[in-house]
């Protein structure tokens, strides 16, 4: 199974990015399943995705420690058995660290085997400097295990601000690819995300 985890704090633009990646994958005739796990209102239109031929599973389960272990594995098992997708995209709750999900999936007790697990963390450039002051541990944790950090909402920030934030992120995770984008305005290239797969 191939997995892409899209993480990032609440409101950072994970869903918009997910939809764009999904569209591109569908255009390539790939079979995609999406696992939704958000503590807030579901931001994604499950019916829309289903019409597009996707499998959408909502992952509920109370608090994140319970949901992101047994609930996640159970959901992935169901998906694997029923659909054999080319790719499963997990939209992680904004209150979780994607790296913890990777740890769960690599656990010896996890009955599933993965060809690849990639992590994309979306960062809202307009709120980064505020959030890093009040929520530094979560934000840092989300960035440090990412393969790609998508710096989103660049249309709402100055070049100077974007540069400053990209520099901070590069220090936190020197091995990650950093992509500046505006998912909402469709100012981005999906190539880095597709190459990741």
């Amino acid at each position: 199974m191939n997995v892409m985890i899209i993480g990032g704090f609440l409101g950072s633009g994970k869903t918009t990015l997910l939809l764009n990646v999904v569209k591109k994958m569908i255009a390539q005739s790939k079979k995609i399943a999406v696992v939704e796990n958000e503590i807030g209102e579901i931001g994604i239109d499950g019916n829309y995705l289903k019409k597009e031929g996707l499998t959408v599973q909502e992952l509920f389960g109370g608090c994140i420690c319970c949901t992101l272990t047994a609930g996640l594995i159970e959901t992935l098992q169901k998906i694997e058995t029923a659909y054999h997708p080319d790719l499963v995209i997990i939209e992680a709750t904004g209150a979780a660290r994607p790296g913890d999900i990777v740890t769960t999936l690599h656990d010896d007790n996890c009955p599933l085997r993965f060809e690849s697990i990639k992590v994309v963390t979306v960062v809202d450039v307009t709120r980064y400097e505020m959030l890093i002051q009040v929520m530094e541990p979560l934000l840092t944790g989300q960035i440090q295990r990412a393969d790609i950090v998508a710096v989103n909402k660049i249309d709402e920030a100055s070049i100077k601000q974007i540069d400053r934030i990209i520099e901070c992120i590069a220090k936190l995770n020197p091995s990650a690819a950093i992509v500046a984008m505006s998912a909402e305005e469709e100012v981005y290239t999906l190539n880095p995300f597709m190459e990741l797969l």
Partner: protein
């Protein structure tokens, strides 16, 4: 094998008081959804029958597995209704109770909460915003059922020799504001309008102490439950913890402590960075309840002979592990964390819906027999 020499209450009290009981006391925390699954019931069908039916399911669960020492009142979707929190109704596809976090309270509401308190705010605003106007007397009905179930719980579990660890699992003011404002908005508030948040936190702290410290009779209950899922070092840096959580927590714990009540502090996510703060609390005043993500062994070393710990047979182990792994982990907890007492063997966070029957049995069996067979 030696025989037990203590009642459940004595055993729990002994461990909480940092002494060594005849064997480790066992407590199980969980939503009714997980318990229903373990007795072959469909929770989404039980829910439709109301609060009392959910209590009956929990009792059946207790009896089916031969019981344990510490129990609590059912944590059902009705409890979330009383708290003005919106939940996803359990269904076959999603049997767990899930809080649907929305921005139910606004920035302006901080002043109202600071003035009137959270309890009145819930009744006058929050429930209606989450569920619509209560035209059928649902609020009162749930309260009545809750009181009936609590009274029956005390009686039924008492007959079975188990002891109520706490009458209510209270929500910490910080966590409550985060849930009602939504995590994202609340976090912004901590940055942009900290004084408003502090005013509301202080009022809610005073209110919580006033409302519940009289309810907690130390002759009946050993502790009062207090839950916090979001203030730990997993989410927030220490300057936020020190300003918005720790002072209020100390006020609550000290106020209850003066009345002879200990706080069962249910802490979700990783609290490694915060653990040393708890050494400032009065000895024996608090039971630190961890969920499996905090390093319990390091916590023990820091809090040894100062505060009891309950935990942490965690959700991943319960649902994905094997019985022999559960047994080995429980033994390690008993040997390393309970070596000098001060341990309640408990679920890490809550019993997950996907708990394997044989894993749950392994936990109970190890807790009940390991030390007595030594």
């Amino acid at each position: 094998m030696r025989s037990e020499t203590m009642t459940s209450k004595e055993r729990l009290e002994c461990a909480i008081n940092l002494e060594k009981p005849d064997r480790v006391p066992i407590a199980i925390l969980g939503n009714t959804s997980a318990m229903a699954g373990l007795v072959g019931e469909k929770y989404w069908e039980v829910v439709k029958k109301g609060y009392i039916a959910q209590f009956e399911t929990e009792l059946k669960f207790f009896d089916t597995y031969g019981g344990w020492d510490g129990v609590h009142a059912p944590l059902t979707s009705e409890i979330y209704y009383l708290g003005g929190l919106k939940v996803n109704p359990p269904s076959e596809a999603s049997p767990e109770i899930q809080i649907l976090e929305e921005e139910l309270a606004t920035v302006e509401d901080y002043e109202i909460i600071a003035e009137d308190g959270m309890n009145l705010f819930i009744v006058e605003h929050l429930i209606e915003r989450a569920y619509g106007k209560d035209t059928s007397g649902k609020y009162l009905k749930i309260w009545q059922d809750t009181l009936v179930a609590l009274s029956r719980s005390l009686k039924e579990y008492g007959k079975r020799g188990a002891h109520f660890i706490f009458p209510v699992l209270l929500t910490h003011p910080f966590f409550k504001l985060s849930l009602t404002r939504s995590m994202i908005k609340f976090t912004e508030d901590l940055y942009f309008r900290p004084e408003l948040v502090e005013k509301a936190l202080q009022k809610m702290t005073d209110e919580l102490i006033q409302t519940y410290s009289s309810m907690a009779d130390p002759n009946v209950y050993l502790t009062m439950g207090l839950v916090e899922e979001r203030a730990g070092g997993f989410f927030y840096p220490m300057h936020i913890f020190e300003r918005f959580w720790w002072p209020y927590t100390k006020q609550i714990i000290n106020a209850f402590w003066k009345k002879g009540i200990k706080i069962w502090l249910h802490l979700d996510t990783c609290w490694d960075k915060n653990m040393h703060y708890f050494k400032d609390l009065p000895r024996g005043s608090t039971i630190i309840d961890l969920d499996g993500t905090t390093n319990i062994f390091s916590a023990k070393e820091q809090l040894r002979n100062h505060l009891a710990i309950s935990s942490d047979v965690h959700p991943a182990l319960m649902s994905l592990g094997k019985p022999q792994e559960v047994e080995a982990y429980c033994k390690k907890l008993i040997d390393d964390v309970g070596d000098d007492g001060g341990l309640v063997l408990c679920t890490g966070c809550c019993l997950p819906v996907a708990t394997k029957k044989e894993n749950f049995e392994a936990m109970l069996k190890t807790g009940k027999t390991y030390e007595l067979s030594k």
